[in-house]
């Protein structure tokens, strides 16, 4: 029970892990903005209401930092690339795209087909494990138990699937004439 803590405790964990979090943010491409982004993270933590015990607060903060960097990349892509390539397909899990809903539904269908086609190059078991992980949010250790294989074997299946879906994004990138990212 000792590891449970409330959100105000989360701020303390953030202070204690300031240096490794900054290092992580820089490694994730934050550059000179790392301090500002840590501040943003701090504000988010402050807004989380108390009494939400978190099993591993340190990992929780890193996950938030990881998501924050990813959101920034996506936001800058939306700005620079709004009309182009894969942003044109209305893809935005945050639901902020500006395509009308009927069209969006159609594009989502097409995207689904593309993802399914790409995954079809993998074995059935890899596909099933990836769906269980990605769609249903089941942890690797639970999948390993269910499938009767080791966690590192589950990891290998997921690695193959992520390689395939990442390549789909990459393709769309190359079709876009503009660079996506600041160096």
């Amino acid at each position: 029970m000792g590891f449970r803590m409330i959100a105000s405790g989360l701020s303390a964990v953030l202070i204690a892990n300031r240096a490794p979090l900054l290092r992580f943010l820089r490694a994730r491409g934050a550059g000179d903005d790392a301090e500002d982004i840590l501040q943003e993270l701090w504000l988010k933590v402050e807004r989380l209401e108390a009494e939400g015990p978190i099993a591993d607060p340190r990992a929780y903060l890193f996950r938030m930092a990881d998501n924050l960097m990813h959101d920034r990349v996506r936001a800058s892509m939306r700005r620079t690339n709004r009309e182009l390539a894969w942003s044109e397909t209305g893809f935005d899990p945050a639901g902020r795209d500006e395509t009308p809903s009927a069209e969006r539904a159609l594009l989502a269908r097409q995207r689904l087909r593309r993802v399914e086609l790409a995954l079809a190059t993998l074995g059935e078991r890899t596909q099933a494990i990836f769906r269980r992980f990605r769609v249903e949010g089941v942890s690797q250790s639970r999948i390993a138990q269910e499938e009767g294989i080791s966690v590192s074997a589950v990891e290998k299946h997921l690695q193959r699937a992520y390689r395939v879906v990442a390549a789909l994004v990459d393709e769309a990138d190359e079709a876009a004439p503009q660079p996506r990212r600041a160096p």
Binding site: F24, L48, E49, R134, Q140, Y162, L168
Partner: protein
């Protein structure tokens, strides 16, 4: 160009870091620091992770129909409701249900329809419209909410806790009345009485009366907030009570209750709403009320309503 071995490594790190139990962030930082190309490949893999979200919005019709044994292991495929109308989702469900294997029983409701389910132990489950609940005949103390919303009034039994699964979230009752919602973007639980234990095998968050927990499918981040216990389950009387709820969530509730198809303009989808909405039995003037309460323009579309920002005066 980023070479293939970096892309392989990035895919492996993505698989690790998206696991809810992942904790080795320092090792990930080591790898990212080693070469700036690593972060670019990692971001591409992250975008692939986002892209794969589409797998959750529709059933893969052919394989699901032809392989009944695997059907029940993919609840997320039928849920979602991002696409088409809830009625279309219900039609798909209707095709699947009669062939239900073994002990699993799926109960579905059309939008606007409520159902009360009584279990042998006295536990009652009120199922909101546009919802799908799977029960297990061989184990009366489990339920899986695949889509929509359900209010659980559980008869507590220390020796046989009642477990509810919704998306990747799992809840165990500690003697209670609580509401579970599977939205298009995640899972929610709100406790009216007693307490619920969220994620018993992991975080083990205890939620008392008046607590609400949201888990995002995309980020897997869990947030706990306050809710008026009296507001929990108010949907049964056609009432919806919100504090700082995003508009897309309000629209989902109303769609579930009325069967209206409601799309929300991205410009207002994240706007916070605080207040109460009563869904009337007759719906003639309802869209006018909605426009006034939510401070939006409600446009009629062929397939339902579209909520967007009011034009500036």
């Amino acid at each position: 160009m980023i070479d293939a071995s970096i892309r392989d490594q990035a895919a492996l790190w993505m698989a690790r870091a998206r696991d809810p139990r992942f904790g080795d962030w320092d090792a990930l930082a080591d790898w990212l620091e080693a070469d700036p190309a690593h972060n670019i490949a990692y971001e591409d893999a992250f975008a692939g992770h986002d892209l794969a979200e589409v797998l959750g919005i529709a059933p893969a019709a052919a394989p699901v129909m032809s392989r009944p044994a695997s059907r029940w292991r993919r609840p997320g495929m039928i849920g979602g409701g991002l696409l088409g109308t809830a009625a279309a989702a219900a039609a798909i469900v209707a095709l699947v249900v009669p062939a239900a294997p073994l002990a699993q029983v799926a109960i579905t409701t059309a939008p606007g329809q409520h159902r009360l389910i009584s279990l042998r132990d006295g536990t009652q489950i009120a199922l909101n419209g546009g919802s799908r609940l799977v029960l297990d005949r061989s184990n009366g103390r489990t339920a899986r909410l695949e889509q929509g919303q359900a209010l659980f009034s559980v008869v507590h039994d220390e020796t046989r806790p009642f477990t509810v699964d919704a998306g990747g979230a799992r809840m165990v009752d500690l003697g209670t009345r609580f509401d579970v919602t599977r939205t298009a973007r995640g899972s929610e639980v709100a406790v009216a009485e007693g307490a619920v234990l969220y994620d018993p095998d992991g975080a083990a968050v205890r939620l008392g009366a008046g607590k609400m927990l949201r888990r995002s499918d995309r980020s897997q981040v869990v947030e706990v907030s306050q809710i008026d216990p009296a507001a929990v389950g108010a949907w049964r009387a056609g009432q919806f009570i919100y504090r700082d709820a995003p508009l897309w969530r309000v629209a989902e509730d109303i769609a579930r209750a009325t069967g209206l198809h409601i799309a929300v303009d991205p410009g207002v989808a994240g706007r916070a709403f605080t207040g109460a909405i009563v869904v009337p039995a007759g719906q003639a003037a309802f869209s006018n009320h909605l426009a006034a309460i939510l401070n939006v323009t409600v446009a009629q579309q062929a397939n339902g309503l579209y909520l967007k920002a009011r034009a500036p005066r």
